[in-house]
């Protein structure tokens, strides 16, 4: 196994502890780090300066795409390719196209939201260096873990370890890169 380092991990006991630790890591100037928690921590996105998630835009794009396409499909099928006279109504009109287009907008938006979420999170993936660590399994239970990546410009195995220990991190440990 290669000895490449993926990062350093440290464990915290409570949401408040990890939130304060995250503030200190940000103030120390680190950029490539992440907090692993059993549920979303209120305020963490502000500390990490994550901004607004792009998922909403992906969902909007999916919804708008489906809406336009279904409206177009209805025009093509019922008004252009095979004009269909039903009850003397116009071949193509807003009220008749709205309902199916709107329903498919919901479909497009929902699929967009799921695909956007998975895509932006780089899922699905079969493995992650952290899965090799036994203590990482506690993240889905009641522990809170911060990992500072080795690719960070400020990363130094000694200094970073000191920082993590000084802000109250327990079980500070090296995460090996599996590749």
């Amino acid at each position: 196994m290669s000895e490449k380092i993926y990062g350093l991990m440290a464990e915290f006991d409570s949401p408040a502890a990890i939130l304060h630790a995250a503030e200190k890591i940000r103030d120390a100037g680190y950029r490539r780090w992440d907090a692993f928690t059993p549920f979303p921590i209120h305020g963490m996105d502000k500390v990490m300066k994550l901004g607004n998630s792009l998922v909403g835009w992906v969902a909007l794009a999916g919804g708008a795409f489906m809406f336009a396409n279904v409206a177009g499909l209805i025009w093509f099928t019922n008004a252009f390719d095979y004009p269909l006279i039903v009850g003397g109504k116009p071949m193509f009109s807003a009220p008749m196209t709205f309902v199916p287009s709107y329903i498919m907008l919901i479909m497009g938006g929902a699929v967009g939201a799921l695909i956007g979420m998975l895509g932006l999170n780089q899922l699905p993936r079969l493995h992650h260096p952290l899965f090799a660590k036994k203590r990482f399994e506690l993240v889905s239970r009641d522990k809170f873990i911060i990992v500072i990546g080795a690719l960070d410009e400020k990363f130094c195995p000694v200094e970073t370890r000191k920082l993590l220990e000084s802000i109250g991190g327990a079980h500070v440990d090296i995460v090996e890169d599996v590749d």
């Binding site: 409570s14 949401p15 408040a16 502890a17 995250a22 992440d34 907090a35 692993f36 928690t37 059993p38 549920f39 979303p40 921590i41 209120h42 305020g43 963490m44 996105d45 990490m48 994550l50 607004n52 998630s53 792009l54 998922v55 909403g56 969902a59 499909l73 209805i74 099928t77 019922n78 390719d81 269909l84 039903v86 009850g87 109504k89 196209t97 309902v99 199916p100 709107y102 329903i103 498919m104 919901i106 479909m107 929902a110 699929v111 939201a113 799921l114 956007g116 979420m117 998975l118 932006l120 999170n121 899922l123 993936r125 992650h128 399994e137 506690l138 993240v139 889905s140 239970r141 009641d142």
Partner: protein, 478 residues
Amino acid sequence: MADSLNIEELKRLAPPAELRRAPVVEGNQGLGWLTDKLSAFAEAKTPVWWWIFFIPAAFAATVIFPTCLFYQVFTGVGVWGNNHPVMWGLDIVNFIWWVGVAHAGTLISALLFLTKQHWRTTIGRMAEAMTVFSVMMAGLYPAIHVGRAWFDWFMFPVPNSNGNWPQFKSPLMWDVFAVNTYLVVSSLFWFMGMIPDFGALRDRSTTRIRKTIFSFLAMGWTGSARQWHNYEKAYVVLCGLCTLLVFTVSSIVGLDFCTAQIAGWHATIFPLYFVIGAVFCGFGMMLVLLIPLRKWCGLENIITRSHIDKVAKLALVSGLIIDYIYLMEFFIAWYSGDPYERWVFGHRLFGHTYMVLGWMLIGINVCVTQLLWFKKIRSNLLALFIIGVLINIGMWSERFVIVVGSLYQDFLPANWGKYMPTIWDIGLYIGTLGTFFMLYLLFVKFLPMIAISEVKGAMPEADPHHPLGGAKKEAGHE
């Protein structure tokens, strides 16, 4: 010092005990305990009661259901009781009934999320599962009701050698899109909600096979802040879209009826009528599922009496709206002066053919629902369970009264007839019930039946600004 003064002040201002919100989870002993508790049932040995319910449900699903289905598909719609003039029988009654059951699930999981009701975290997942399985059952009925199921693809805009396309001006066509979208979106919503919990079960798994299966399902979920950030956004978007669906799908089913000119159907109130009826019926089903499962799965601390009480209150609210709509329907039928309308509505209660169902509708949906006003009834689980079953029967009879009761005596007496379901109608209904319960039992046994991460997130321990979340200790450091 300032801190302790503040705490005294807060204690003084806190609402009295009877006005305080009930805790989401009773007897909470921390996040680790909660994780064990919530995943216990999926990891424990299968209990005997599960088999006692599973075997008959599986028999109905794998023997009765395919037998009735294949016999009908191979022989034709004639095996059912549907015949002129009642061309919509139990197939459409059950379709609307199943769509209705689905709606309360979406309402609980999506609308209550948007209105920030923390208590819904404990029952949201079970409600979503109810939605997914009942939409599956609902979608089946129109597909075979067309008679020649092998021509179902005509309903989709598929290019074909005849050069013909679906007719998009018809609400029946909109229904195809609505029900399919409902199935896809509610399944996606259900699945996405489970991804973090699959991760939790993956990390807890002790056998290799469990680890492999849950690793695949969790898709590499790590629970990083970046992942949660995108996940939460996607969840809000899906909740918003699902809420739209609650109000859309049954509205479109309602439009199928009100665009027809049959007396008893031709009313603008129908879309709303069907939405509220659907939600009411679904809350009844929710009571039927929650009350036994919370006891047998050892979840009485999680799905508390306060949660059941809230579901019962929601059933009461939707029931009252339904009662108002009944009143308006009868009033408008009388006020319209239309003899056909008056005939149909009079015969709902006093026509000798189906008056039993008409009075069941009044007796259950109007009278029994009023029992939910009383706190004594709402805290009696057995009474609530029986009321839940009755609501489902009441709503089924309402669907029957609307569909068959309006069709069997239309404008021309020469055109009158009777409808009686045959054994194949009833067998298919039993088959769908069995399939629903079989799927539900499998879900309860093998998947995270309670949203583990969501319940943990709704605990005071999860709030970094709450003393239990470690806030005070940190403040002391500074």
